[in-house]
């Protein structure tokens, strides 16, 4: 069986920024496959690299300020170098893959970034209407990905594929 990790990132006190954490909680509560690891964090940090190096599929989930509100976007993530300008307090998925490869010698066969466009990032623990509306689709999308539904190879995906 292939190993999968879902890495949800966000701040639950900043409105739509917390959507990834909410999705991860929903997945965990809905009879989620315990073999699929879910990690919650406010920022992606180097300590995640080792776990990432041990899986076949990594799904990064985050809110986006650039994608239209309520839109779900799926992008392939690939190892990136150089990593100039990186800060150890907050890494991007390509940098985490780079760390996994440099330090632990392995990256997942596939890595994907699923983002949900947000509208409101102020102090709040509620989601905007477009983001609330996107939740069922986003959950279904993550379930499909994690259950091994065949998708086009990452290289064949456009850089900002929308499903």
């Amino acid at each position: 069986m292939s190993h999968t990790i879902i890495l949800a990132c966000g701040n639950p006190l900043r409105g739509d920024d917390g959507i990834a954490l909410h999705l991860a909680h929903c997945l965990q509560e809905q009879h989620w496959d315990p073999e699929i690891e879910i990690r919650y964090s406010q920022q992606w940090t180097p300590e995640l690299a080792e776990s990432i190096s041990k899986v076949d599929l990594a799904i990064f989930v985050d809110a986006s300020t650039t994608v239209p509100a309520g839109t779900i976007r799926l992008q392939p993530v690939s190892f990136s170098k150089p990593w100039r300008g990186g800060t150890t307090h907050s890494l991007h998925p390509p940098q985490l893959l780079a760390l996994a490869r440099e330090l632990y010698g392995k990256t997942p066969e596939r890595a994907l970034l699923l983002t949900i466009g947000g509208e409101s990032f102020g102090h709040s623990n509620e989601f905007s209407r477009p983001v609330r509306g996107a939740i069922p689709t986003a959950l279904a999308q993550i379930r499909r990905l994690a259950s091994g539904v065949t998708l086009p190879e990452p290289d064949a995906l456009p850089s900002a594929a929308i499903y």
Partner: protein
């Protein structure tokens, strides 16, 4: 004509700051200032809130050392309730405190400072970061990640979350620890203790390379302050305050942290949002003291755990009396990681930590409470006053980094005078000045506090650097 050199921002530290260096007509540095440029107002905006919210409000001060604020705040609330916590809770809180120290020290040493130590102070700044370390010495990168990960894992195992947990409550902790969780942590101890030992061995081999930095990085006599236990160990979670001098003499001892205002004064300066605590009997600024890992290892006569004790003995042999160079904060940090790991192991083997009674309850019994513990960077004090409904009427925080403010300012002056030449400037010179600050590992988002009204100074400076106008509002 003299000039001002600005280092903005100071990099690889927690929080936002800059350094300005004043040079004279000959290009020699004559003054140096460390400016904390961010401002927050936790003392003020917690007024009116109920005391039992304080641990969870105050821990939001920081994303790196929230556990320290959580503990100091909960202890201040314990004092408001006039209660002790159950024995199991006391030990669980101590484990949490030590885990916090491990993860924070690993972050400081491996992520923030090791680029200077491995790649060199003069390395290309675009490569001089943790990712550069990863390429140059991947094994060291893995050690740093593993140690930080373990500290965070202990916090998560006990408190449910790695950052901003709500597990510590006034009166104890809100859930006991299971035997299964204890065993899971114990399984990992040999591996992480070995990593801590290897890190120390590696670091000690580097010291020869940094003789000049050791000599000039805030290397001067000062007082040292910290908590000490009744059995003469550094008191991380609990103890009485001790001050020693640079000769190792005890200046003041057995001081109750609750009476800190009797012996710690707080000054403000117009160029920074960070206060300047000082030892009151010696006045300001002569009462400069240092806190944190270097101070803690200078204050005591034994370290308390077998492996750390061996390292501590070697460390104290660096100098005949107190170890004075702030470059050695790095060294002390690694010894403290080893100590914390060994001490956590001792606690995990103590069956009392799985007892079910982990919290006592009481109602408000005092209108004033002080909580104190050793945060990774030094002594942390939370002081609250409440009204009869338990609403906060006044709060004061003395943050670990703040205690070191006088020493950091003097330290950058010492290093800048030695390394910086205005007519032959290089990036490496300025990086050494920054590296003095990094050695102290300041956490500025925690440390930015105003004492009453800020002493505010606004300057209008022309493009050639001359002062055109100045408005000043005294504190």
């Amino acid at each position: 004509m003299g000039n001002t050199i600005t280092i903005d921002p100071v990099t690889r530290i927690e929080g936002h700051s800059k350094i300005t260096l004043q040079t004279d007509d000959h290009g020699e540095v004559v003054a140096a200032y460390f400016h904390t440029t961010q401002f927050r107002g936790f003392e003020k905006f917690c007024e009116g809130r109920p005391y039992y919210e304080m641990p969870y409000l105050m821990e939001r001060i920081c994303g790196i050392c929230p556990v320290s604020h959580l503990l100091a705040s909960a202890k201040a609330c314990d004092a408001l309730l006039a209660m002790k916590v159950p024995p199991a809770a006391g030990k669980l809180r101590r484990i949490l405190d030590l885990a916090q120290l491990i993860q924070s020290h690993a972050l400081s040493f491996f992520y923030l400072s090791s680029p200077d130590l491995i790649l060199g102070m003069d390395a290309d700044p675009r490569e001089r970061n943790f990712f550069g370390v990863m390429q140059a010495q991947p094994e060291l990168g893995r050690w740093g990640i593993r140690l930080r990960q373990f500290g965070q894992q202990v916090i998560e195992t006990l408190a449910g979350k790695r950052v901003h947990p709500a597990w510590v409550v006034p009166g104890g902790v809100n859930e006991p620890l299971s035997v299964e969780k204890v065993n899971k942590l114990l399984e990992q101890m040999p591996e992480v203790i070995e990593i801590a030992q290897k890190s120390l061995t590696w670091f000690k081999r580097q010291l020869e390379t940094f003789r000049e930095e050791i000599r000039t990085f805030a290397n001067f006599p000062s007082l040292f302050m910290g908590l000490v236990t009744v059995d003469e160990r550094a008191g991380y979670y609990q103890g009485k305050i001790r001050f020693t001098d640079s000769l190792g003499n005890i200046v003041a001892d057995d001081l109750d942290p609750a009476n800190y205002q009797e012996y710690i004064g707080e000054a403000v300066e117009p160029f920074t949002f960070m206060k300047f605590p000082y030892y009151k009997p010696m006045g300001y600024p002569d009462g400069m003291y240092r806190v944190g890992p270097l101070a803690r290892l200078n204050l005591v006569d034994n370290c308390g755990t077998p492996l750390a004790q061996q390292e501590w003995v070697e460390f104290r042999e660096l100098e005949r009396k107190a170890v004075l160079s702030s470059f050695y904060y790095h060294y002390a940090r690694l010894i403290e990681i080893l100590f914390a790991l060994e001490h956590i192991q001792e606690y995990l083997l103590d069956p009392i930590i799985t007892k079910k009674q982990a919290r006592y309850t009481a109602s408000l019994n005092n209108l004033e409470g002080v909580g104190c513990c050793e945060a990774p960077r030094g002594t942390l004090i939370h002081h609250y006053r409440v009204d009869e409904q338990g609403l906060i009427t006044w709060a004061n925080l003395i943050i670990a980094t703040g205690h070191n403010n006088l020493a950091m300012n003097r330290g950058i002056l010492q290093a800048a005078k030695h390394f910086v030449r205005a007519d032959k400037m290089s990036e490496g010179m300025l990086n050494r000045v920054e590296a003095v600050i990094r050695a102290f590992d300041p956490c500025l988002s925690c440390a930015t506090h105003a004492d009453g009204h800020l002493d505010l100074q606004v300057q209008l400076v022309s493009p050639d650097g001359s002062l055109l106008n100045e408005i000043r509002r005294p504190a």
